[in-house]
Amino acid sequence: MSLKEIIPQKLKEKFQNTEFEISVYRDELTIKFDQKNILKVCEFLKLEPELEFLLCEDITAVDWAKRKNRFTVVYHLFSLKNNFRLRLKADAAESESSTGEIKWSIDSVTSIWQAANWQEREAYDMYGIYFNNHPDLRRMYMPEEFEYYPLRKDFPLMGIPGSLSLPNK
């Protein structure tokens, strides 16, 4: 049995009450599940002796520009032992703050892989997704005074005039 079948089987055995959507496209395995289990699933994938996904390659988010489940957080993991790459997807949870604004958030996996630290900061800077329990969540690329989130679909390519300042002569 190839890894593409072993991994979903192991996940279904260990986490009986979570739903996993498995898909294989162009020879890559993608697993999608609910965001509240992200920490447990990632820890299992890292520590399980047969799988050992020790290298967290990439964490990013996709903005689907629709009302429900606007952001999906995507994780790419690599197992050095099996030379196998895996993609995990989880929709960010929405919550209404007191002023009526929507806030998207998901748990941070920095406690499992340290490589996730800056990747999550970048996702926060570009999309505005808050990562719970992140040790140091601040902006990565844009200056701290910048108020918008550039990679969202409602932010124009040329930017908003006045949002970034030039030096005074």
Binding site: P143, P150, L157, M158, P161, S163, L164, L166, P167
Partner: protein
């Protein structure tokens, strides 16, 4: 600025002084490489044994602004970086000249996006614009020769308050 500040009028004697002063200034232009991205690599290549920039007098590329008179801005300038570039420019002593190397500094280049300044002439007075992405090192040497000609034509008394190019401000933040 000793001798030049004493000269109040332009006459026969002063043209020789002009020529000597200008000749000595233009043959030892020390560039300050503001190397930010890909154009910086071509600037480094202008310093390597094949396109030797040292034979034009730019023997040293000092990284401290206090000792330089030419600033070569090589690479894309973003809004965050523009404050730093302006600060370094202000720290350079007079007289000073600026080369905008490459398409990104001349007009924003291929980056028409939210964080790139569309041309450094919005906050820095530029003397020579170089085309290319990145310009070949020979192109950079051509720009250096143009700056040298410009220095060669300046009269000695004008070095005190040198006439700077205008800024091309298209955005008022």
């Amino acid at each position: 600025m000793g001798l030049e500040s004493q000269l109040k009028e332009h006459g026969f004697f002063t043209t020789t002084v002009d020529a000597v002063v200008a000749w000595s200034r233009k043959n030892s232009v020390w560039p300050m490489p503001m190397g930010i991205s890909c154009c910086a690599i071509e600037m480094m290549a202008a310093g390597d044994p094949r396109y030797d920039i040292a034979r034009f007098g730019s023997e040293v590329m000092r990284f401290t602004p206090r000792q330089c008179d030419l600033m070569i801005v090589a690479g894309t300038v973003t809004y965050k970086m523009s404050h730093v570039v302006r600060k370094i420019y202000d720290q350079m002593p007079d007289p000073k000249w600026v080369i905008a190397m490459g398409a990104c500094t001349s007009s924003g280049g291929m980056y028409r996006s939210y964080s790139v300044v569309q041309g450094i002439d919005q906050f820095l007075p530029v003397d020579v614009y170089l085309a290319g992405c990145p310009p070949r090192p020979d192109n950079l040497l051509h720009a250096l020769i143009m700056i040298q000609e410009k220095i060669g034509k300046t009269k000695a008394a004008d070095f005190k308050n040198i006439r700077r190019p205008e800024l091309n401000i298209i955005q008022n933040n």
